[in-house]
Amino acid sequence: MSLKLGVPSKGRLMEKTFKWFEKRGVTLSRSASDREYAGRVDGVDGVDLVLLSAGEIPRELAAGRIHLGVTGTDLVHEKLPRWEQQVEQVEPMGFGQADLILAVPQSWVDVDTVDDLDAVASAFRARHGHRLRIATKYHRLVREFLTDGGVADYQLVDSQGATEGTVKNETAEMVADITSTGETLRANHLKILSDGPVLKSQATLWRSRSVVMTDKEKAALKQMLALLRGES
């Protein structure tokens, strides 16, 4: 069997990943048809390219169905409990930087820290009869961060897209989301709490810890890592 390298299947993340590998002497390419999710790897022998959604790469690494994978720190930390035991970080790749942050309406002039948030959550619940809602898709990370900060009386509501709009639509009181420049947040009249971020993320090359490799796969991995780290 060949060594399997999983990379994001579309968009800027895919393009930047291809460029990052190219610079290090490994050429990734998609098959001629744009619709077909197949590709090839040149520069190292015995490596297959697997095109996947960035969100599925953590799971595939953990299951050992791919040996190497490119995806954000945020997705690995959110989707894999005890991620250190399932995957190993090979190289941070220097793009796709984004912070997972907590943001509240700009009109909340009295809220700047997690401390404030806790006090407000308590008053909000007493007044409105339900817990303060935080829209996010990063349930585990946000819950762990808030537990650690001793925040009570909040509720996570799932939002898989257009999260910044939930406050205006009154389906949430605040959001926890990934941002790189904060532009979208500002446009939606939101501001970031000062004692974050919950997590700093960037595109990273990971290696699965849960896969047993053949000699041929080991050799391909060794050659690949040497190239990527500029050791050959």
């Binding site: 009295d110 700047d112 407000v120 817990r131 819950r143 001793g150």
Partner: protein, 362 residues
């Protein structure tokens, strides 16, 4: 590892002894509406309980314990006073430690009685101690009501007391609040800036979301008011710290606590209750002279307990969770009682761990 049928057999035996003491057998459903548990524990419960859903009933949880459904049942149609017993599986989601079990059997005994709380506390403790007497366990006890009474008695505003009360079960947060209210830490820059302004502040920004301008202005006003409040005195802080550090056998703990009560007189009624409980325990044959008592016991893991708390630990097996644990949860009956309330106390045993320890002994 003991097998399942042995565990069930031991659970049945334990339950029979609780029935003999007057416990009415109850058997709450495995699936509990998630809303009740989420309202009680907040989102943290999602990390500890399995959640499932259907289109009709929405989110439900595999019961993480029996206490909540037993309280609900009693508050709905229980006679008074009442004793209940139960045995069955509880489920705990595990994400971090693969050695912790995600499903195990609990056998419990709960008393709902207005007349004599000290005697009910002692009854539950002694009944459970009796079941584990051969196992050489260390019993630890505490009383969250003492710290609560101390907070209620502080010379500070009701608002500050309410904030402290809300975080009694989160020691780190409680500590941070105390440090702020006593002036030991500086205010964050953003707060200083806010306090340096006057008048309403919400005028300029776009108002979005459900939290209204009036609510924001009200909190700003409250913060301004709070900034003028005198810090909690050094004297009270030292007494509170001494209180939280008390860790002794019951008689010595009582002695220390009576000394501390000179500076925190509000804890005296709670200490009288502790003394009455010690007498009730002694009357049931518990060796109170050797029983450990810690004021801060149970503050991290037992969120609904608000009075007497206890746990039984296998000293030789520090890796094991408590073999038995329990406590008083008067406030929980108020929260679930829709206007009604009744003093209540209970405890649970782990038959699987009991069998494991017995096997190791023989």
């Amino acid at each position: 590892m003991p097998n399942r049928s042995d565990i069930q057999a031991r659970a049945a035996r334990l339950r029979v002894s609780f029935e003999a003491a007057g416990g009415l057998v109850v058997d709450p459903p495995l699936l509990q509406p998630a809303g009740t548990l989420l309202d009680l524990y907040g989102e943290d419960i999602r990390a500890r309980a399995y959640v499932t859903t259907d289109a009709l009933r929405g989110e439900q949880m595999l019961r993480p314990d029996f206490t909540v459904p037993v309280v609900q049942m009693h508050m709905r149609d229980g006679a008074e006073p009442a004793r209940y017993t139960y045995s069955g599986e509880v489920f705990r989601r595990q994400e971090l430690d693969p050695d912790r079990m995600n499903e195990y059997v609990q056998v419990g005994y709960e008393i709902f009685d207005r007349d004599n709380p000290a005697s009910a506390d002692a009854e539950v403790f002694a009944m459970i101690a009796l079941q584990v007497r051969g196992l050489n366990l260390r019993a630890a006890t505490g009383d969250i009501g003492i710290l609560m009474a101390a907070v209620q008695g502080l010379n500070t505003t009701d608002r500050r007391k309410a904030a402290l009360m809300r975080h009694i079960w989160r020691p780190r947060r409680f500590r941070a609040l105390l440090d702020r209210f006593s002036g030991r830490v500086e205010l964050p820059e953003s707060r200083k800036k806010l306090l340096s302004t006057e008048g309403p502040l919400t005028g300029t920004s776009v108002e979005i979301g459900k939290r209204s301008r009036a609510e924001i202005d009200a909190r700003v006003e409250a913060l301004r008011e709070d900034a003028t409040v005198a810090p909690i005195s050094e004297n009270e802080m030292l007494a509170l710290e001494a209180l939280m550090a008390v860790r002794e056998t019951v008689p010595y703990a009582l002695e220390q606590l009576r000394d501390i009560a000179v500076d925190l007189p509000a804890i005296t009624p709670a200490l009288d209750r502790l003394e009455a409980r010690a007498a009730a325990l002694a009357a049931r044959g518990v060796s109170v002279e050797n029983l450990d008592f810690e004021v801060s016991f149970g503050r991290t893991s037992m969120e609904y307990y608000d009075g007497f708390v206890f746990g039984f630990y296998a000293e030789a097996r520090p890796d094991l969770p408590p073999i038995a644990s329990g406590g008083r949860y008067d406030a929980l009956t108020r929260q679930l009682g829709q206007g009604a309330e009744i003093p209540a106390v209970g405890g649970v045993l782990r038959p699987d761990l009991i069998l494991m320890l017995e096997e190791a002994q023989s």
